[in-house]
Assembly symmetry: none
Homo-oligomer: 439 residues x 2
């Protein structure tokens, strides 16, 4: 849970701009602001986005400044008639707009470096609420504004991401820290998990770890196909309890734990690449229902040529025979979606590619092609090496794309478990395995 | 400017979730909602994001429902303790939470299809505010909620993008339209375009179509790899001018125009599928630098087995020889990224798959492996049929993933142009072709 306890500062965000309301762009500025605050252990309490309408802006600034300790306003500092932030701020503060000498100097320097004369729209950027402070902009023409209204410290920042970035890291974050009561930065630990959902894990923790430390917060982030877990300490005491907590969480997760996140979370394919590189081994793919997705995920990662030399997309039965040597009698007797076929595909690919490991898939992605015996969502996966080839049949109903993505992710997980020598049975096999072999 | 005039309905958005506040993810759900509203000519007036705190949720729903005609709430419908939307809604409406029979049935069906028993956290998803309506969720466990509070129609939607997408397009957008005051909807016409950017097209229009009708608005939506164009009439007069305007726009676009959008925009692969089906023809793929992405895009679409039987991911040189019969002398003399190799790959795949058409790719996706002669971003593409095989070398610098996606899209476009019998040279060849054949 986010710490909204009363001693945490109440930080709010106001984003302005018509383009944010029309869905043409995804707002990444607020993610940038949130990330910089997170380094200080601070969370945004509320975020409001409005279009460039004077009445909306004025009423929001008025409203938000009454509950926030800090309000960061992003956008609306530019030279055009749409840019209303300074004017709205003046209206809320009930002060006049006047030319700010430092802002004017900044504009003059800025235009001088670029060798052009200031025009009237440019000069508008020096017209600021009386009594405000300015925040330097190292890159652009618009200076930032700092002003206290209703006991709330307000920072107005430019919408251009690079300018915002510099302004935040060079000035605003320090200024917020200076104005905070004494706060400490506690430890955070992050993990990637596969094959266990948020609710299943929460249930296991409730059953097996009833004395979960109160001041360690467990957060989840669905980042298909991997789930991210985050442990955040809320006190010095919690930091002491963290190693023991991690140990118990790891024992609950078992081999559903894929990796600890160091800097950036890695893709599933990148994890497989690392394990194969460590084993100095290569892998090949024989795909029917996933249609090339497994190969594509592998080769999206740079460095994949070290561990991947070839893949086979054998969609039609006759190709399974001609390319991978699947006996036509097997196809006729057992069908394309069968243990016999997927194992023959896997063996054929291993031989053709001279690879160490293989993933083979044969299933019914839908929406058509299902039968009562083999409904849409049925898949046979084979994985392993020449001397250790395994197979499983799962039922994964859902949309075609969901099915293909899930089969791809499970295939990666099965190879991962083989490479780390896991003897545990993953939850998705327990829950999704089709007990009797469908024919 | 956004139409905030008084007769436009006041639509607001409330996004919930701690993860939205911490900067771990960039919120794309609100962009999706805004885009779907935009198709109806509707704009979002205000957007608020709060973390999963009961007091914040309750006060925001209370506050927003007083000014909004429609309020879309996204997130907080899941099974965990963090998911508080239903409870907050009940508190604002001053009704009890009770088990909703239809929601329960949905959960039972959902778990039955997946072959597992409902646990307690799952069952929580059937506990909804008394008197609410539910909105079907075709993909996931959480049903949506519809409820009117303070004369505001509130829709609660799940945070999982795919589930949100289906719920919006199948139910909520229609429902909003039904509840709108009588507004006249002027004609709208939409197109998919490839290989010409927004600014290039705007420039061509400015040059060649100076008398563009004032009351027909041209909108753009980047929807990689296809660009969407939308012509919106703003008056009855504009509706009369539309056919002539479309005709002139089409002549400016030439064969960069891929299709008119009927209901939903189709993927590039789906367009290729239709063209191949019309021609009763099949296609195969021989991929090096795209690593299976072309095959994967083709097979993501249902119905692909009619036009696609096999694909080859030949990453290593020795596999290009063993699988596709590329002469080793060609590889040694000209290298893997060469016209000779890509043509030999294409011929080999056509023969192995007995397909009518082929796409073959060989290039340097990066970030490593570039040379002065063949920098990162160099790609040879071959496409066509046995008697009409063509090839081109382009330079497409950018990230590895951008490169793979762009090569995939261009390959589709080249096959499309061949299938429609186009004699025009696309802009991307004019601009990106490497003049001297690199070796």
């Amino acid at each position: 849970m986010v710490d909204n306890s009363s001693n945490a500062p109440n930080i709010q965000l106001l984003l302005t701009g018509n383009e944010l309301m029309t869905g043409d762009i995804v707002d990444s500025n607020s993610a940038m602001i949130a990330q910089q605050l997170l380094y200080l252990g601070l969370h945004i309490r509320k975020k409001v986005t409005v279009s460039d309408e004077m009445t909306d802006l004025v009423s929001e600034i008025q409203h938000l400044s009454q509950s926030a300790d800090f309000l960061i306003i992003n956008g609306g500092l530019g030279p055009t008639v749409d840019d209303l932030t300074a004017q709205a701020l003046a209206e809320v503060a009930k002060v006049k707009i006047e030319q700010h000498p430092q802002a004017l100097e900044h504009l003059q320097q800025w235009s001088k470096r670029r060798n052009f004369a200031l025009n009237k729209p440019n000069l508008k950027q020096a017209d600021l609420p009386a009594g405000c402070d300015i925040i330097d902009n190292d890159l652009g023409s618009a200076v930032g504004i700092k002003m206290t209204i209703n006991d709330c410290i307000i920072y107005c920042t430019p919408g251009v991401p690079s300018e915002l970035d510099v302004m935040l890291s060079k000035y605003i974050m320090q200024d917020i820290q200076l104005n905070l009561p004494n706060v400490h930065h506690y430890k955070v630990s992050r993990y990637q998990v596969f094959g266990i959902g948020e609710s299943s894990l929460q249930k296991l923790i409730n059953e097996q770890y009833t004395d979960w430390p109160k001041e360690i917060e467990l957060g989840f982030r669905a980042s298909m196909p991997l789930l991210e877990l985050k442990l955040t300490c809320k006190s010095f005491q919690a930091e002491k309890e963290l190693p023991a907590c991690i140990k118990r969480l790891q024992s609950i997760l078992g081999d559903h734990l894929v990796a600890q996140i160091d800097k950036k979370p890695l893709s599933f394919a990148k994890h497989i690449q690392s394990l194969l590189k460590d084993a100095k081994a290569t892998i090949t793919t024989a795909e029917s229902c996933t249609g090339g997705m497994i190969a594509s995920e592998i080769t999206k990662e740079s460095g994949s040529s070290d561990i991947f030399e070839s893949g086979y997309v054998t969609y039609a039965n006759r190709i399974k025979s001609s390319e991978l040597g699947v006996n036509e009698a097997i196809l006729q007797e057992h069908g394309a979606v069968s243990q016999q076929t997927v194992l023959a595909m896997a063996k054929g690919a291993l031989a053709a590619a001279s690879s160490d490991y293989v993933i083979a898939t044969a299933g019914i992605a839908g929406p058509n092609g299902g039968t009562e015996e083999k409904p849409v969502g049925t898949v046979w996966i084979a994985w392993g090496s020449e001397n250790n080839l395994q197979s499983v049949c799962l039922l994964l109903p859902g949309s075609r794309l969901f099915f293909q993505r899930y089969v791809t992710a499970i295939s990666f997980d099965l190879i991962r478990r083989l490479l780390i020598g896991s003897a545990q049975v993953p939850l998705y096999i327990k829950e999704r395995q089709v007990s009797s072999n469908p024919r």
